[in-house]
């Protein structure tokens, strides 16, 4: 069901944990849906010096958060914001269709952490939206085509 890469990131998650006095923290998802992701950032001179995550969720949710932290480590904020969920899926050599929403969650968690960093430091970042109210967070699985 999962690629080797997903299994690798699930069983050996990179950058799992917390950052004390993080410069930005973002949490998205909710327990109702069964996925919650939290990303912590340490930022110096606009560069992501350290990033950690914690995830409550399925194998794909853990793997997407793990690889997302790898993708942004050492990047500038601007570069990090360009990383999309497609890039996350690609880096994992693909995800089952029903799990693609996990990659969106990883993108959203990252954006939420950057938003938090920007808020705390009074920085304006163009194009960065405040995180959605996670209680209303909803993800959809595309319905299978039905035979008419």
């Amino acid at each position: 069901m999962y690629t080797k890469k997903v299994m690798d990131h699930f069983t050996n998650p990179r950058n799992m944990g917390e950052i004390d006095h993080a410069d930005g923290v973002g949490t998205v998802g909710n327990a109702k849906c069964g996925d919650i992701m939290r990303i912590y950032l340490k930022v110096e001179d606009d560069i992501i010096k350290d990033v950690k995550f914690k995830t409550f969720g399925c194998g794909a949710a853990v793997a997407t958060s793990s690889i997302a932290t790898e993708l942004v480590m050492g990047k500038t904020i601007e570069e990090a914001l360009k990383i999309t969920n497609d890039a996350v899926v690609e880096a994992l050599d693909g995800l089952p269709k029903a799990k693609v929403h996990c990659s969106l969650l990883a993108e959203e968690a990252l954006h939420a952490a950057i938003w938090d960093y920007a808020q705390k430091n009074n920085i304006q970042i163009e194009g960065l939206e405040p995180p959605e109210d996670t209680e209303d967070y909803d993800h959809h699985v595309e319905e299978e085509d039905e035979f008419e």
Binding site: M7, F10, T11, P13, M16, E18, T27, A31, K32, C33, G34, D35, I36, M37, R38, K54, T55, F56, G57, C58, G59, A60, A61, V62, A98, K99, H139, V141
Partner: protein, 403 residues
């Protein structure tokens, strides 16, 4: 442990080698069509009759009341849609519960779209229906009560005999999906006033693709599959003779072993539950503590998610199942866990272990020990557990389920 530890017997079982042995000649030597006239084919016909007799004896039914089908799902479909069709003059109201198997629920939902009225009874926190609610739900146009014998996820066994009494009193037909209960707990269709009952082969060390529907004599039931004269013209199509033979053999063996197996399984089940509850914090047992299938364990582990738990167990060669959304293929956790009022937070963290005839105490010790490590690891990874440790949220299990 190098060896695979299979603890998902409610999903399916292996076909016992004695069952396979009984089936094999019916593929190669005794391959005749049971409907053919020559003597050679009559051996196959006889084998079907013998299996039918075994199944009838196992549930205290008459031979003519047992109909072979492709499995539990077909039996459920036939029982429910058949009653609705044949009793349309009396009414179109069905009473069921919120925690039935999808074979029943989706059939009811389909019939609702076709104009039937369906009442979905609530269940309590242990998964038991209220007999009072059931009786109150019966109306003049009620044609069928369909309530499962024992639940496939949480193992809770319903008060079937009492339901039968109510059904009889109000002259409403009573169907029960006994796929999980059959040959695990004693079933007497006469004593329990059961009018229709679904059974399956592959949950009891028989082959897949075969099951049976018990239809009490006198229940009007027309053909479900139109074709030849097989199954007393009610289910056309050449019989799956090897599977039917295997099903009969499996029932015969399981019935003989039922009492001793139940004692052994209950001991193992309760040993495992106790051990996990003692060694892992923030865990709750789902389903009734005693009115439950001898082989069923269902636990909710707070702060973690079920699919992750299953993958970690799989990596330790343990096969189990979960009611989490990710394993159900939808976004909601299992309807059974929601029906017993489990909050989403802990429904996602459920684990079902169903033991079988080869399950040993050593295996369960291994799994219990593995759970300590795995649960700790997943909790260390969990932002929800972090929030709990920092006292930002409360534990659902501690606040709602510990008395």
């Amino acid at each position: 442990m190098e060896k695979k530890i299979y603890l998902d017997h409610a999903a399916t079982t292996s076909t016992r080698s004695s069952v396979v042995d009984a089936m094999l000649p019916y593929f190669t030597e005794e391959f005749g069509n049971p409907s053919s006239i020559y003597e050679f084919a009559q051996n196959a016909k006889q084998a079907i009759d013998d299996s039918r007799q075994i199944i009838a004896d196992a549930i205290h039914a008459e031979v003519a009341e047992v109909f072979f089908v492709s499995g539990g799902t077909e039996a459920d479909n036939w029982a429910i849609s058949g009653v609705v069709e044949n009793y349309a003059k009396k009414g179109n109201h069905i009473i069921t519960t919120k925690m039935e198997h999808h074979a029943v629920l989706h059939t009811c939902e389909y019939l609702e779209k076709k104009g039937c009225e369906v009442t979905y009874l609530d269940v309590d926190a242990d998964g038991l229906i209220s007999l009072d609610d059931l009786e109150k739900a019966i109306k003049d146009n009620t044609v069928l009560i369909t309530i499962m014998f024992a639940n496939n996820e949480i193992g809770t066994i319903q008060p079937i005999k009492e339901i039968g009494v109510i059904a009889k009193k109000h002259k409403v037909l009573f169907h029960t999906d006994a796929v999980q209960a059959f040959t695990h707990v004693p079933i007497d269709v006469v004593d329990m006033n059961i009018d229709l009952m679904s059974m399956s082969g592959h949950k009891i060390y028989g082959p897949k693709g075969v099951g049976a529907l018990y239809i009490r004599k006198g229940v009007r039931m027309k053909a479900f599959i139109h074709g030849g004269a097989q199954e007393r013209r009610r289910r056309g199509g050449t019989e799956n003779v090897p599977a039917i033979v295997g099903f009969g053999k499996a029932v015969k063996e399981a019935t003989a072993l039922m009492d001793s197996e139940a004692i052994r399984e209950i001991e193992l089940r309760d040993y495992f539950i106790k051990k996990v509850l003692e060694t892992v914090p923030y865990v709750k047992l789902n389903g009734h503590p005693t009115k439950r299938l001898p082989n069923n364990v269902n636990l909710s582990f707070e702060f973690i998610e079920g699919e992750s738990l299953l993958i970690m167990l799989d990596m330790k060669n343990v096969c189990a199942s979960s009611g989490s959304a990710c394993t159900s293929g939808s976004l909601d956790p299992s309807h059974v866990l929601l029906a017993i009022g489990l909050p989403h937070e802990i429904a996602h963290g459920s684990l079902r272990i169903t033991i079988g005839e080869k399950t040993s105490r050593e295996e369960l010790d291994y799994v219990a020990d593995a759970l300590v490590t795995i649960v700790k690891r997943l909790r260390d990874m969990s932002p929800v557990y972090e929030d709990y440790m920092q006292k930002k949220i409360e534990s659902v299990i501690e606040t709602q389920y510990k008395k």
